[in-house]
Every structure is written in structure tokens, then in C-alpha cells.
């Protein structure tokens, strides 16, 4: 938050009629940049074989993660697929715990049980971290159902990708959410590729925000590379859901800079295409330019900020790596809540 610029209550940016204070803008910027550097660090650690298994990075999609959380109430639920590092960081979870989870350490968010794909943080209402494409969508409406059942005005932000949107469970969920007017915002992060398959090769209707038409779920399309636009449109959608009007679809147009996962060389798209998004539409650069233009910071400020964040991330990763691996005894923890000691399979026993 430490911009060198002197901050006052009037400094800020007005975007589409909404005022964003300098402080808030810095916070959003810093979080996006932190996520970017975190993911780069994760990529590096993966290359050093310190992170195992699947690892899906979200470089390029930071504005979606940050803008959504910025718009939401802290009590709102959020759940997504396996590309979840950015979302859980944006939800306010301690980064060391996220990195420790990637490294399979005892202090990971789920104690080393989940890894990259299964980040959960109940305190920050982040419900995963779900590894089966589309699986989180019915679960998301379940959270919405609970909210409606208790009438506690919480909205379930249920996120999927342009790949997940083709799963049948999604339409079952659209239908029930609309039928019962559940407080759910369905966010479709459209990064153009479902693994290696481009949108047009997988979807007959490529305007994904229209996917709810048959279920009377209204949809909007948002520039997901513009954090302020994400924040603004997401705010509208949340209000719609919270007010009892039922679910809404928000299609976030975005792009991932890296392959689908660490093992993906991403040869299905051209270098030119990636460069175009990276250099022309990068969400962090875009916000920086807006802030510089508004006199809220200088290029040098952001350079310094970047150095600080890189340093923080480096120290954070070291601290995470220094943690011990989980104790073997935790293997048996949390399989069952109500253990029945005298029945087989016996809790916490082999055979």
C-alpha cells in the first residue's frame, strides 16, 4: 500500500461513474502484481521440481481474481476450478500458506492434503479449489441454496472456465438456480482455451454469457483484462443476486499467458497472439497507466513496488520451503468426522 504519492480523500479515478480511491487502486494493483509474481515464482519452483503434480497458473487473469473479490462482500462465498491460486490470494489468504501447500508442507492451507488444485480457506469463505471440471458449479448453487434457506444475503460466486461451461452439471445448476432464484453469480472466465482446445473448436455458441438464455439466467460480458470494469460489472451482478432476482452470468474475457498447466508448451496458439494480449492488454500495465495518467503514481513508483513485491515473494517462498513436511500421522486425519472405532475399515489403521 506504500505508494510514495501523498494520498488524500479526493485522489482517485472515476471509472464509468464509479469513484475508486487511490488507496483502493493501489491495493488492487498490488494484489494483481503480487499474484503475477507469485505465479512466476510457482512456475520457477515447479521447474525446480519443488512443486509436484498438476500446477495451473493464472498469469494474465489477475484482474478477474482481484476485481471480483473487490466487488464482493467478505461474507460472500467463492469457489472455482483448479486454477485457483489467484483467487485464494485475492480472498485474503496468507500467501505463505498457499505456497506451502504447493510445496506439500505442513503449513499449507490444507496441510499438504490438496496441492495446487485444492486450495480451501473457510475463514475467507473460499470453497475451493475443485479438480473436476464443472464440479464446483452445482456445489456453488448449494451454497446459494443455504444462503437462501437461512436468508442471510450471502451470494455464492461460482466460477468456471470456458472449458467447464460445456459440462452438463452447469446447465442443471443454471436451471435450478433460476427456478428457485438462488443468490448465485456464475462467473465464466473465458481465457479462450479449454486446455488446448480453442473456444470456437469446442463451443457452438461462443458468446458464453448467452448460455443461460434457455434458463432465463441473464448474462453479461466483461473485459476481464480491466480490473475496474470487472469490479463494476461484478458489483452489479452481485447486487442482482443479493436482491433476490436470482442468478446472473458474468463472462470475463481474459487470457492466460502460460500454458494450461506447467506441462503444456501451448503450441496451439501463436507467439503473436500471446504477445498481443501481454503487451497490449495486460491488466497490471493497464491499471498502472490509468494511475500514472491520474497522477496517482509514477513509473518509478511501480518499478520500486515491483522490486519490493519480488523481494516479498522470494522471502515468502523461502519461508514456505523451510517448513517441515506434514507429519505422517495426519494421513489419517479428516477422513471421517464421526469415526466408528469398532468397525472396519478401522479409523487410523491399516487393515
Amino acid at each position: 500500500m506504500a505508494g510514495k504519492k501523498k494520498q488524500d480523500n479526493t485522489a482517485g479515478i472515476t471509472h464509468e461513474g464509479r469513484f475508486y480511491s487511490a488507496e483502493r487502486l493501489h491495493a488492487m494493483h498490488d494484489m494483481m502484481l503480487y499474484i503475477r509474481r507469485f505465479e512466476e515464482k510457482a512456475g520457477q519452483m515447479y521447474g525446480l521440481k519443488k512443486i509436484g503434480g498438476f500446477c495451473h497458473l493464472c498469469n494474465g487473469q489477475e484482474a478477474v481474481c482481484v476485481g471480483m473479490r473487490e466487488a464482493a462482500d467478505s461474507k460472500d462465498y467463492m469457489m472455482t476450478s483448479y486454477r485457483d491460486h489467484g483467487h485464494i490470494l485475492a480472498s485474503g489468504t496468507e500467501p505463505t500458506a498457499v505456497m506451502a501447500e504447493l510445496l506439500g508442507r505442513a503449513g499449507g492451507v490444507v496441510g499438504g492434503k490438496g496441492g495446487s488444485m485444492h486450495m480451501f480457506d473457510v475463514k475467507n469463505n473460499f470453497a475451493g479449489g475443485n479438480g473436476i471440471v464443472g464440479e464446483q458449479v452445482p456445489i456453488g448453487i448449494g451454497f446459494g441454496f443455504a444462503s437462501q434457506y437461512r436468508d442471510d444475503k450471502r451470494v455464492s460466486i461460482t466460477i468456471m472456465g470456458d472449458g467447464g461451461v460445456n459440462q452438463g452439471a452447469v446447465y442443471e445448476s443454471f436451471n435450478m438456480a433460476a427456478l428457485w432464484k438462488l443468490p448465485v453469480v456464475f462467473v465464466i472466465e473465458n481465457n479462450q482455451y479449454a486446455m488446448g482446445t480453442s473456444l470456437s473448436r469446442a463451443s457452438a455458441e461462443t458468446h458464453l454469457y448467452k448460455r443461460g438464455i434457455s434458463f432465463k439466467v441473464p448474462g453479461i460480458q466483461v473485459d476481464g483484462m480491466d480490473v475496474l470494469e470487472v469490479e463494476r460489472k461484478m458489483g452489479e451482478a452481485l447486487e442482482h443476486a443479493r436482491s433476490g432476482k436470482g442468478p446472473m452470468i458474468v463472462e470475463m474475457m481474459t487470457y492466460r499467458y502460460r500454458g494450461h498447466s506447467m506441462s503444456d508448451p501451448a503450441t496451439y496458439r501463436t507467439r503473436d497472439e500471446v504477445d498481443e494480449w501481454r503487451s497490449g492488454r495486460d491488466p497490471i500495465v493497464r491499471l498502472q497507466n490509468q494511475m500514472i495518467e491520474a497522477g496517482l503514481a509514477t513509473e518509478a513508483d511501480f518499478k520500486q513496488k515491483d522490486r519490493d513485491i519480488k523481494k516479498d515473494v522470494g522471502a515468502m517462498a523461502k519461508a514456505a520451503e523451510a517448513q517441515p513436511e506434514p507429519d505422517l500421522s495426519v494421513l489419517w486425519d479428516d477422513v471421517i468426522t464421526d469415526e466408528i472405532p469398532n468397525a472396519y475399515p478401522y479409523p487410523r489403521q491399516v487393515g
Binding site: V110, P138, Y149, A169, E172, V335, T337, A343
Partner: protein
């Protein structure tokens, strides 16, 4: 005690638990206005209203996932599958979500939910509607599998399942829905993981669950005429399994036949007989025998159907051979 049907017993358990705990709700196809495809939820809509007794579209994967999310968010869903055959559509949510949520989240979230409905073979409904899946679910850590064989057990076990803090796969039997039996009135809880000896005997142990318990009891009467005194053990909870009761029975009788409606390969009988081999080897005077459904999809024609299912005669024969009687 009152004499009521198996379906009424289930209804009582649900009503009692919903009166007791505001977080409990019932959701499924035709559970509300239609009063249940098999009338298990008869009158519940009137009693609890549409907020807590909810008809769903035909969308098993969707409403099972909804149940997972609602449970994670602190409610206690009872999700009814019209039959377990349709729950195959929901297996991703059961296996990949419900069963693992507690573990994957290191205990941050849990999934206290009852998934219930009719399992096993019904009558003359052919291949896609006559299947026993308890072995599928019993294989999975994080789940409990419960199968009542009579009205009293149906009530006591369902109430316990609703109160349980894990996901319980509660498999009823369509053929048993009309069975009448003595059922305790008011609150009645049977702890999960406890087998029940339905008939005491000394010569052979018949282990059978759900509808097959009745078959085993009928077989025991036939065996008695041959001078074979059979003990019938109903595990009631398939996972976790009260193997101590089974092993104690086998220690007494030295012989066992395990009966199940489902297919033989990797079935419940395979597991139980393996456990008897592992833990009760020196008690055995004969190999453990299994009587199971035939290894074919269920056919429609009446004679083929009854041939495909285990019969009392097959149980009697297996017991006779196991007892080494001519």
C-alpha cells in the same frame, strides 16, 4: 411399538429429525407434491412446507452437488434418489466431492448429508433399474453405507444417518417398502456400524443385508428342517462393517455363507469373506461360500429375472455344501 411399514418407518425418521433440527431438509424428484415416487415422503410437504421439502427437476448430478454445497455451508440435506440407478449420474459429486471434501480441506469443510433411495432389484424393471451398488460406495473412504432390512432398522438407522456428520449412502429396497414390522415409537436411533443377529444358530453363519436378510431367514428355516441350525447376521451398516459380530458368529459356527443381491466380482461378499479369511482363518472348517446375483445385467422376463437373483434354494444349497452334508 406400533406395526408400520418400512416406508412409514423411514417417513417417521425423517419427520422426527426435521422437527428436531431446522437445518435438515429433504430434496429430490417427486418428494413434495407427489408425496414421493414410493410414498416415503408422504405428507411431509404439508407438514414442513416447500422451503424444507423440495421437488427438483430430473437432474441428479445437479441436486446432489447442491446438497454437497449446502452441507458444506452448514445445512444437513437429505437427498432422495428415486432409485440408486439414477444416482449413477451423480457419482462425480458423491465420489469426487462429498466423500473427499473433509479430507481435501483438511477438515475445514465437511459434508453431513444423507443420500437415500431404493437400491437393488425391483420387480420386472430390467437392466437399468435393478442394480446393487453398495460395493461401489463401500469402497470409498469418507463415505458410510447403510442398508436396513426391516422397518425398525429403517427408522433407527435413518435417524442415526441424518444425525451423522459424514455423507451417508442410505440404500433402501423397493420390495421391502411395504413390509410391516414392529417399530418403536418416537425417537429411535440405531448406532451406525453395529450388526444385528437376526436369528441365533450354531451350525453356520449366513451374512446377509437388505432384502437378502429375509431370504437368509427363510433359508435358515429350510435348513432347520435338515438339522442345520443357521445363524443370520445382518451387518446393517456395510461401511464401516461390524466385522467383530460376524467373526464371533463364525468362531461359533465355523462356517459362513455371504449373501448379496449384487454381482459377485469385488462384491460385499468378497470383502466379508476376505475379512473372515484374514481374521477368522483358524475358525473355518470350510471355505466361505457366496451366494450372489448372477453376473449378467438384469433381464426382464419373470423367469429370467428370478433366475438372475439369489434364491432361498441357492442359499440353502450353499449352506448345505458348506456344512458338508449329503
Amino acid at each position: 411399538m406400533s406395526k408400520i411399514t418400512y416406508r412409514e418407518a423411514l417417513n417417521q425418521a425423517m419427520c422426527n429429525e426435521m422437527e428436531r433440527d431446522e437445518r435438515v431438509f429433504l430434496m429430490g424428484e417427486e418428494v413434495a407434491e407427489y408425496n414421493g415416487a414410493y410414498k416415503v415422503s408422504q405428507g411431509m410437504l404439508d407438514k414442513f412446507g416447500p422451503r424444507r421439502v423440495i421437488d427438483t427437476p430430473i437432474t441428479e448430478l445437479g441436486f446432489t452437488g447442491l446438497g454437497v454445497g449446502a452441507a458444506m455451508a452448514g445445512l444437513r440435506p437429505i437427498i432422495e434418489f428415486m432409485t440408486w440407478n439414477f444416482a449413477v449420474l451423480a457419482t462425480d459429486q458423491i465420489v469426487n466431492a462429498a466423500a473427499k471434501m473433509k479430507y481435501m480441506t483438511a477438515g475445514q469443510y465437511s459434508c453431513p448429508m444423507v443420500l437415500r433411495g431404493a437400491g437393488g432389484a425391483a420387480a420386472r424393471v430390467s437392466s437399468q433399474h435393478s442394480q446393487a451398488f453398495e460395493n461401489w460406495y463401500a469402497n470409498i473412504p469418507g463415505l458410510k453405507v447403510v442398508m436396513p432390512s426391516n422397518p425398525a432398522d429403517a427408522k433407527g438407522l435413518l435417524a442415526a444417518s441424518i444425525r451423522d456428520n459424514d455423507t451417508v449412502i442410505f440404500i433402501e429396497n423397493e420390495i421391502n417398502y411395504g413390509d410391516i414390522g414392529e417399530v418403536p415409537e418416537g425417537e429411535y436411533i440405531i448406532p451406525l456400524g453395529k450388526a444385528d443377529i437376526k436369528r441365533v444358530g450354531k451350525d453356520i453363519t449366513l451374512v446377509a443385508h437388505s432384502r437378502m436378510t429375509g431370504y437368509a431367514l427363510a433359508a435358515a428355516e429350510e435348513l432347520a428342517k435338515m438339522g442345520i441350525d443357521a445363524e443370520v447376521v445382518d451387518p446393517r451398516t456395510i461401511r464401516p462393517l461390524d466385522e467383530a459380530t460376524i467373526l464371533a458368529s463364525v468362531a461359533k459356527t465355523n462356517r459362513a455363507v455371504v449373501i448379496e443381491e449384487g454381482w459377485r466380482f469385488a462384491g460385499i461378499g468378497a470383502e466379508i469373506s476376505a475379512r473372515i479369511m484374514e481374521k477368522g482363518f483358524d475358525d473355518l472348517d470350510a471355505p466361505v461360500a457366496r451366494v450372489t446375483g448372477k453376473d449378467v445385467p438384469m433381464p426382464y422376463a419373470a423367469n429370467l429375472e428370478s433366475y438372475a437373483l439369489p434364491s432361498v434354494a441357492e442359499i440353502v444349497e450353499a449352506a448345505r455344501v458348506t456344512c458338508n452334508r449329503a
